[in-house]
C-alpha cells in the first residue's frame, strides 16, 4: 500500500469536494459569518482533513459526514431564507446596545458583552467619545453598527446643496501593460481616444502602463511601471530580513 499516493488521492477528493460544497453553500465573506457559521466552517474543514489523512478508516464514511454537514447547512440556509421566524431563532437578530446615547446595561448582560468590548468596537470605527453615539447595534455576526448623533455626522454635499456628478465604478482599461478592449468598448471609447489620453500624459505605448482605470465621470487613473519616486518611504518599525 502506497500511503503517500493514497493520501494524495484522498486530498484531491476532499479538496474538490470542499470547494464544491463551499460554492453551493455560497456563504458570504468570513467577516459576515455568524458564530454558528464559523463553527460550521471549522467542523466541515476538520472532517475534510480526516478524509485526507486518516488512513485508519475508509474515506467514504468521513465523506458522507462531510456531505451531510454541507447538506444540513444548505437546508438551514434555505429555511432561514424562506422563514423569517426561523431566521431570528437560528441566526439571532440585531440588538440595540446604545439607545439615544444611553447604554442598555441589561442588554449587554444578556448578550454577554462587556462595556470594554463595546468601547473597543467603537474605537475600531474611529469613535473615541461615547457622547458622539446616538445608536449602537450589535449585529448577528458580532459587529457593531453605529449611528452618530446628528451634530457629529459628517457634512455631505447634500447638506450644502451642492450638485455632484456620479462617478460610477472604475473599469480597468489597461492592466499589466495589456489593453482590455472589451472594457474599452463597454465604456464607449476607442483605441484612438485612449492613445490620445496617454499621449497627453507623455506615455507612448500601452506597455508602459501597469494600470489604467476610467470611471463614468471620465476621470482616469494611470499608474506607470516607471514611478519616478526617488526616495521610497519605509513604514517598517523594525529591520527584518527583507
Amino acid at each position: 500500500m502506497n500511503e503517500a499516493l493514497v493520501v494524495m488521492v484522498r486530498a484531491i477528493i476532499s479538496y474538490f469536494s470542499l470547494l464544491i460544497f463551499a460554492r453551493v453553500l455560497g456563504k458570504e465573506q468570513i467577516s459576515q459569518l455568524t458564530f454558528f457559521d464559523y463553527i460550521l466552517g471549522i467542523t466541515i474543514g476538520s472532517i475534510a482533513s480526516e478524509v485526507t489523512v486518516d488512513l485508519s478508516s475508509r474515506a467514504w464514511p468521513h465523506w458522507v459526514g462531510l456531505a451531510t454537514w454541507a447538506v444540513l447547512a444548505y437546508l438551514m440556509e434555505l429555511i432561514t431564507l424562506k422563514w423569517r421566524y426561523a431566521a431570528k431563532f437560528f441566526e439571532g437578530e440585531p440588538t440595540i446596545v446604545i439607545m439615544n446615547g444611553k447604554i442598555m446595561e441589561n442588554v449587554l448582560k444578556k448578550m454577554k458583552f462587556r462595556i470594554t468590548d463595546i468601547l473597543e468596537l467603537l474605537r475600531n470605527q474611529g469613535i473615541f467619545d461615547l457622547n458622539e453615539v446616538d445608536y449602537a447595534i450589535i449585529e448577528p455576526n458580532g459587529s457593531l453598527s453605529v449611528l452618530k448623533k446628528p451634530e457629529n455626522l459628517p457634512l455631505t454635499p447634500k447638506d450644502m446643496n451642492i450638485n455632484v456628478t456620479p462617478t460610477g465604478i472604475s473599469t480597468e482599461l489597461i492592466y499589466d501593460g495589456v489593453l482590455i478592449e472589451e472594457n474599452l468598448r463597454q465604456m464607449n471609447k476607442d483605441k484612438k481616444w485612449l492613445m490620445d489620453q496617454l499621449k497627453k500624459r507623455g506615455i507612448k505605448d500601452v506597455s508602459e502602463v501597469f494600470l489604467l482605470t476610467l470611471n463614468d465621470a471620465e476621470s482616469l487613473y494611470i499608474d506607470k511601471y516607471k514611478d519616478n519616486i526617488k526616495k521610497v518611504k519605509d513604514i517598517g518599525d523594525y529591520k527584518g530580513p527583507f
Binding site: 488521492v9 488512513l55 467514504w60
Partner: protein, 121 residues
C-alpha cells in the same frame, strides 16, 4: 452550454469521487485467474486440512502475489488497518505452513478470510 458545464463538472466530479471511495467491493473481485484471493484461501484451507504442505507452500506464494495485486486496486477505498491485517495474516500463514503447524495455519486462514469479507463492506 456554458451554464450546463458549470453544473455538470462539479456533479461529475462528485460522482467520480463517490465511485472511487466505494469501489472496494468491485475491485476486490478477481479480474483474472491469478488474483482470486478468496478462492486461494479456500484452496490452502483444503491443503492444510489434508496436510498437503508442499502444495500449501506454493499456494501461499500465489496468495501473496494475488493479494499484492488486489491491494493496488483497493488501497484508495479501503482502510489501511484492514489491508495491513490481511498482509500480516499471509506472512504468518507462510511461517505456519513452512513449520507444518496445522492449527496456526488454520487460525491465520480463518482470520484472513474474515478480514477479506470485511473489505468493501
Amino acid at each position: 452550454m456554458r451554464k450546463f458545464m458549470v453544473a455538470a463538472i462539479p456533479v461529475a466530479a462528485l460522482v467520480l469521487f463517490v465511485c472511487i471511495m466505494i469501489s472496494g467491493s468491485f475491485f476486490k473481485k478477481p479480474f483474472g485467474k491469478n488474483d482470486d484471493v478468496a478462492q486461494m484461501i479456500e484452496t490452502i484451507m483444503e491443503d492444510v486440512n489434508n496436510e498437503a504442505w508442499d502444495e500449501a507452500v506454493a499456494e501461499v506464494d500465489e496468495l501473496d502475489s494475488a493479494w499484492r495485486k488486489v491491494i493496488k486496486r483497493i488501497q484508495f477505498s479501503e482502510e489501511r488497518d484492514e489491508i495491513n491485517f490481511l498482509t500480516s495474516n499471509v506472512a504468518r500463514l507462510r511461517g505456519a505452513v513452512s513449520a507444518k503447524d496445522k492449527s496456526d495455519a488454520l487460525m491465520e486462514l480463518n482470520d484472513a478470510y474474515s478480514h477479506w469479507k470485511e473489505l468493501g463492506k
